[in-house]
Symmetry: C2
Subunit: 593 residues, 2 copies
């Protein structure tokens, strides 16, 4: 049992009746609720300045009990206990976490099974259609009623991510930071299709009776079928194979009356009994009408609706956004997070986007991904006053030169292949007003870069740059990494598409040592800057300074400045003989469109 | 209207009552059928030698009408009309095509809706459980009854691919060639899970009555739900988005009786009306019991069952196998085709495997993929007596030298990065007894290599080699392509894992021209053999002959022979001075474990 389990905080579900305007709470699609109750829980301690509140939006069938022990329980029974805990991704030693059940639900917040004050009966079929906007507005009213006109962050996964996003658009400025995990600005067509089939199963169940089944038989067959189907979409094919494969479970033989084919002992696939178990278990805690209303709100959610583009829809956003996708997720696709991130960049918002390894699929965000915790924790870090950065001595001269070439007007900088963000830290210590973003493939780099207060895009650079919109940055840097790109020319053209100016530094393959090694050792050169063997080198597109300048000419790239670096005295000799390239180990080039 | 439509052959459905052994047809899972009727169709003309028969296995809900016009129809109404037609992938001008409805079906072959001769009533719930083996045995009996003890080829897609595979195992030697398209040796766990939910929908429909619904109300709600769900799995998410997106179709507004929330005009998502349409349409042509029995046979199909490995299960196979996967298919995964191909290679069978571009998903194999037609057509080509191959003059000397280094005992050769198969053609003209296989990424190369009678693996070489089992070949060749590999060292170690000896030829980056260009032109060399610019070159891991030999030493690769090639007289000068590498443009190395 991990240590956090025993010291998990105690919590309880509280209920609040919202102070509504005269007449009640008017819904986006025309309905009206005269009374709205909300169930919520809190974990952690509110700071004296009341500035450490994090609101968590739960997923489709979740509830307010995000984390902590209820009275009498001996361990944390919250649905996100791995994330929300002392020292966790959302650290309850630092933050005061609030989570509330959604409107339309059946876990304490007003929903179809609640009593309609007009009739004294459960709403049933008369419960109005709800939208994500309504859910968010109810939660915003709750937070204000609890005395919070502003929170530090809002975090949500899956359907909760849709709510977090709607919150950022609908109540800009309410939160400083918003994290959207395994979610999107709308459902995919495929996810819609699954919902259609699931809803049909409920609505065609004879016990459903149009939604007015309270007090009678419940549409259990339909609801459990819908849940079974949904459960398939929460897991990746890979994890299903691993968990169940084609294994079977024996069931007693059934002998038909005519005795013609009694057959051997029957068995069912384990995946079948698992799904049926999930379907049955769901009946004990969920209401079919709530399932219909909430999935309907999710299906209808489409941020772009009414706007020319998603970027336009996101225009009001003021929070810093973290968008996390899971690579094994086929319900909410990484592509949806990429589209969201693209739109936010187009709208010139602060956005970080990550695709994390999650072979188990959509549900991974609930179960536990160590990388997700670290990324969320990095994102939620409060950026300290920036100290003078520790600078790699070797880089010192290059970075000084590089920084000197960045025009004063530059406000947004992208460092391509930024590693752990060291160059960004250096730049923002020199230019505290600049907004820095890094792109690279390494999760550790993402965490440290996020925690330093920069934006980060976790992506293979060769592919990731293609998804950055035109003119997203004032300046882009490619420091000592053009030679590792699979397509250096495409990377450069993307660089000048997404920023009007670029700074590129690289090792010069024309330096005298290289041909010398080829001739005298008969081998591919291995130098301090190019320390790899030919077969395992990441430096797959080496070039000389002349090659680089040739390419710029051929591709109509304007070269504004070339700086030559060398640590060797011999370089001066080559320079005297007009062969400066032979004496140059590194080159820094400023390019522009 | 394409030209083939008007001249499509006329066909009709024929019915045969199988000559069964005394007692009837005994099923694998214990049942017995006293009478089995089979519905079949033929297209094309039987050759005089009766050696041009292709049997086609249909998919889950297909029928015998694979291609052709029925009397009175003005166009080809077959379910695979695009593939099976004059000049098509399965060319009805060349082949005599036979297709039959499966056992358990409802399209003319005996199934649950057929009349049980014992009772004079439809079987219903009393129809015995069937397996893929039973389906295949019925079809084998049919073919023998039609006078065919041997066919040229068996082709099947999806569930039809499972039948084709079972045919190859169960009746080895019955067909010379077997093509398995978008299929696998068993269902994935995820596909099983979808079947579970679909079957539940039927069985929980009150009208199902345990399967004895004939003459009364049919379980239409359940069957259409199962079909809706299955339909989602036949399409990729991408094509669903493209076809339907989030578009809506208006439906008349419904005003609830209490008038409280009449709402705006209602609309449904197009994907919803599409799925419901598919569900309804299915009711007109399919029977719920058939659906249950056939999906059950599919779920239970698992070639490996009862064997230590899939390779062992495939041991009886004698046919040449083509296994084709579709990259957008998420019902039958490319991984399943890879597993099948791996097992066939382990069992030292003739196997070709391709992954084709199919963004629309599983159904693509039915709809039309030009590449699929070409691949199947290439595979079905009868290999002519091999003519003396046209040889690229430039390669002549290298290939002669290469062939001379292959030991006489070699029976199976793999050419890595084989292109269009020219080297394989050359080798098999010199060694007609050798069994040649090529691996490369290009579909055109696959088609020409297949049509020349070689095996082909369509794969990225860097990744594809990893999935070839140990000791699959006697000799592997890597001709002029090690420098384009992302991981040359890994490729070499795979090469010597899958074959005991290897022949590797490559351009020598240590040749005098290269450092000379670096020094005197100051640019990365562009030569006849290395004609690319630095930034777009596929040659990302260049090496000198010494580098290569160094690596072999470091990796414990035995070098048996090194041959140096040069077209230049100057090479002799370097040789005199003991610097042979400087004068060598190409190198051929024979390596061994």
């Amino acid at each position: 049992m991990p240590s956090h389990v025993n010291n998990s905080p105690v919590t309880e579900t509280r209920f609040v009746s919202l102070d509504l305007p005269e007449g009640g709470f008017r819904l986006r699609r025309g309905g009206l609720l005269r009374r709205v109750d909300v169930a919520y829980e809190t974990v952690g301690t509110l700071s004296e300045r009341r500035d450490n509140v994090i609101f968590i939006c739960h997923a489709l069938t979740g509830d307010a009990h995000v984390a902590g022990r209820h009275e009498g329980e001996d361990h944390d029974t919250g649905w996100w206990a791995n994330m929300v805990r002392p020292g966790g991704g959302i650290d309850t030693d630092k933050f005061f976490v609030v989570c509330a059940n959604v409107l339309g639900g059946c876990m304490g917040t007003t929903g179809p099974s609640s009593v309609d004050p007009d009739t004294g009966e459960p709403y049933g079929s008369r419960f109005p259609d709800i939208t994500v906007a309504d859910i968010v507005d109810v939660h915003c009213l709750l937070l204000r009623q609890l005395g919070f006109d502003h929170v530090y962050a809002i975090v949500g996964g899956s359907f909760g991510g849709m709510q977090a996003l709607e919150f950022a658009v609908r109540h800009p400025g309410f939160a400083d930071k918003v994290a959207v995990i395994a979610s999107g600005a709308s459902l995919t067509t495929q996810a819609l299709a699954f919902d259609v089939v699931g809803r049909n199963a409920i609505e065609q169940d004879p016990a459903f009776r149009g939604g007015d089944y309270y007090g009678g038989e419940r549409p259990d067959a339909g609801l459990s079928q819908a849940r079974e189907l949904a459960h398939i979409t929460y897991l990746s094919g890979e994890v299903m194979k691993k968990k169940f494969g084609r294994r079977r479970r024996d069931i007693p033989p059934t002998v038909p009356e005519d005795g013609k084919h009694p057959g051997p002992i029957q068995s069912v696939f384990e995946v079948e009994s698992y799904l049926k178990h999930q379907g049955r278990k769901f009946l004990g805690r969920f209401d079919a009408n709530s399932y219909l209303r909430i999935t309907d709100a999710m299906d209808e959610f489409d941020l772009v609706q009414g706007y020319p583009s998603l970027a336009d829809a996101l225009e009001p956003v003021r929070a810093r956004i973290l968008a996390v996708a899971l690579d094994g997720d086929w319900l909410f696709l990484p592509r949806q997070t990429a589209d969201l991130s693209h739109a936010l960049l187009s709208a010139h918002k602060d956005v970080s986007s990550l695709v994390l390894d999650a072979p188990a699929g959509h549900d991974s965000f609930l179960i536990h991904i160590e990388e997700l915790s670290r990324a969320v924790s990095g994102f939620l870090e409060r950026v300290p006053v920036r100290p003078p950065p520790p600078i790699d001595a070797d880089h010192c001269r290059d970075w000084d030169a590089l920084e000197a070439l960045i025009p004063q007007r530059v406000r947004t900088v992208l460092d391509i292949a930024c590693g752990g963000g060291a160059l960004l830290n250096f730049l923002s210590s020199r230019r505290p007003w600049a907004d820095c973003t890094g792109i690279d493939i390494d999760v550790d780099g993402a965490v440290s870069t996020l925690a330093a207060g920069h934006n980060f895009m976790l992506a293979d650079v060769d592919e990731g740059l293609a998804s950055v919109p035109d003119d997203s940055f004032d300046c882009a840097i490619l420091s000592e990494s053009i030679q590792v790109m699979r397509h250096p020319d495409r990377v450069l053209s993307h660089l000048l598409r997404i920023a009007p100016i670029g700074l590129v530094s690289f090792p010069n393959f024309g330096m005298w040592k290289i041909p010398a090694e080829l001739v005298f050792r008969g081998r591919m050169p291995v130098t301090e800057r190019l320390p790899y063997q030919w077969f395992d080198t990441p430096n797959i597109h080496l070039c000389t300074v002349k090659d680089f300048l040739d390419m710029c000419r051929a591709k109509n790239i304007r070269v504004e400045k070339v700086e030559y670096f060398s640590t060797l005295a011999v370089s001066r000799v080559f320079r005297l003989f007009g062969a400066r390239s032979l004496g140059t180990s590194r080159v820094l080039v400023k390019i522009a469109r």
